[in-house]
Point group: C2
Chain length 141, copies 2
């Protein structure tokens, strides 16, 4: 497994609209997409910067992972996502090296990507996401 670049950095925020304004007005970035991911109980907003993105995450339910994160740690960096050629292959590679997985199989994420999370207990405290574009013509459902 060798990621090509950092696909995005996920930031947990309490208020999506307010945080979008911060990144637009203070950093001069442009929010190009807002998307709700129902099964993750989050609403997301994306900004492009260089070859990576900032993904803001606002909880849509108090029992979702982002709501629990903010309750425990406050707002801030939630995860780092690495772009790989194929998430399934990358998962097998890191699992062979003894890394604990949150997702044992790829699942659909924001922006049509296939994603999977590694467990922070194996990654020195960094909640780590792997993501790849699904093969042309295919999309996980």
């Amino acid at each position: 497994m060798k990621p090509t670049h950092i696909e995005h950095i996920g930031l947990a925020v309490r208020n999506l609209e307010e945080s979008i304004r911060y990144w637009e007005e203070v950093f001069g970035l442009q929010c190009y997409r807002v998307e709700e991911i129902a099964d993750q109980k989050v609403k997301t907003a994306f900004f492009k910067i260089g070859d990576t993105k900032i993904e803001l995450l606002e909880a849509t339910a108090p029992d979702g992972p982002v709501a629990r994160f903010i309750e425990k740690k406050g707002e801030g960096v939630h995860h780092i996502a690495f772009a790989v050629a194929d998430v399934g292959t990358a998962l097998r590679s890191v699992e062979e090296k003894g890394i604990a997985l949150i997702d044992t199989q790829p699942r659909p994420g924001a922006e049509g990507l296939e994603i999977a999370f590694l467990h922070p207990k194996s990654t020195y405290g960094v909640l780590t996401e792997l993501c790849s574009k699904p093969p042309a013509g295919q999309q996980l459902s």
Copy 2:
């Protein structure tokens, strides 16, 4: 102020050697530089990935900022650094917008860059660094 890219992501780690092995063996990245920054009481290790870097930070003294961070929050993402054309100009720009600063003036950072930190109370919990290359022939001392 408009950053061009994410210059690096700083990760607080307990043991630099062990974490370097993780990023090399599991992620296939190559550590290209280890540097001690005496006034920050840290030893750093760098990996290039796409147009950004991962910077590992191990405390060299129990009263330094990284040691205190790990004591409070454990290992994990410590800060995000944005590349800007000129840190001094960027600091004035964000200060005018009401952002609290940790550093009111640029100071020397790793890899010969000029750096300054914004206060996470103004940045939605994200400890934020701005950095730029000093003008040719100049270096902060």
